[in-house]
């Protein structure tokens, strides 16, 4: 599989791309069907997602809860804004660590690429400070949005 790329863009965006061997429909479903999301969006070894709510419709709720099985955990909430099966998803999300982080606006595109899919995730944070804070603390819990190579930032 081709490597993931991850770059900052401007002051407030983070862009991640990744190719998958499956067609857009399957990759889209794996991002919206809670039973599928629960199987892969887990972060580091040892973490699980005991609660996964994903109401794939405009205004539908998103809630992911992670646990390391040793009493540590945190969760994410969000809402779907736009859904174009099986090519595009727009949602907002925020982490509860337990302090709530500012909204991350996320557009995910699923483009056919041969027999597979090129996925492009474009995140927009409210400002440069928030993006920096997200990079430093949002992932301290080792999950979700992990981004940015140093070369992209300086």
């Amino acid at each position: 599989m081709s490597k993931m790329t991850l770059q900052t863009e401007g002051d407030t965006h983070v862009v991640v791309t990744r190719r998958f061997a499956a067609p857009p429909e399957a990759v889209y479903r794996a991002h919206t069907d809670p039973k599928l999301v629960q199987k892969w969006m887990l972060g580091p070894e040892g973490w699980t997602m005991p609660v996964c709510i994903s109401e794939a419709k405009p205004g539908g709720k998103i809630r992911y809860e992670w646990s390391n099985g040793k009493g540590a955990g945190f969760h994410l909430t969000g809402e779907y804004l736009e859904l174009e099966p099986y090519s595009r998803l727009v949602h907002v999300e925020r982490m509860h660590l337990p302090d709530t982080t500012p909204d991350n606006h996320v557009e995910t595109r699923f483009d056919a690429d041969g027999t597979g899919t090129l996925m492009t995730v474009r995140m927009t944070l409210p400002d440069a400070q928030t993006r920096a804070a997200m990079l430093a603390t949002g992932m301290e819990r080792g999950m979700e949005a992990s981004y940015v190579r140093l070369e992209g930032m300086i």
């Binding site: 440069a128 804070a133 979700e144 940015v148 190579r149």
Partner: protein, 115 residues
């Protein structure tokens, strides 16, 4: 400062475009405050203030050379941040590797249903 608060300071130092530009310049080699101020429409004291933030975040160090105080990138600070980002990147890559497996089993199931 412990490692985590050092990283926080480093990432918030990077939130400012002027400071990112200063780091980009220093990545090419040592420079004095005057040399660093030249490409910006900013006074030397303003640049010095940015350098102070970068030094506080462990990303820039200074050396004494007669009356000059040339600055350069602090290798340890930049490497710590690089390692941190590599780790985060790895967590996301791990997610997508798992997704590859989920997609493969979805495909298998689909083929099974057609039979």
């Amino acid at each position: 400062m412990d490692a985590a608060s050092n990283l926080n300071a480093a990432f918030s130092a990077l939130a400012d475009p002027t400071r990112r530009a200063i780091l980009a310049r220093l990545a090419k080699g040592e420079a004095t405050v005057m040399e660093l101020a030249a490409p910006f429409e900013m006074t030397q004291p303003a640049i010095s203030q940015h350098l102070k933030v970068l030094e506080g975040a462990g990303l820039v160090v200074r050396r004494v050379d007669g009356t000059k105080r040339p600055r350069r990138l602090a290798k340890a600070g930049v490497e710590a941040m690089d390692q941190w980002l590599a780790m985060l990147r790895k967590a996301l890559e791990k997610n997508y590797d798992r997704l590859d497996e989920v997609l493969a089993s979805m495909e298998k199931q689909k083929r099974g249903e057609k039979r």
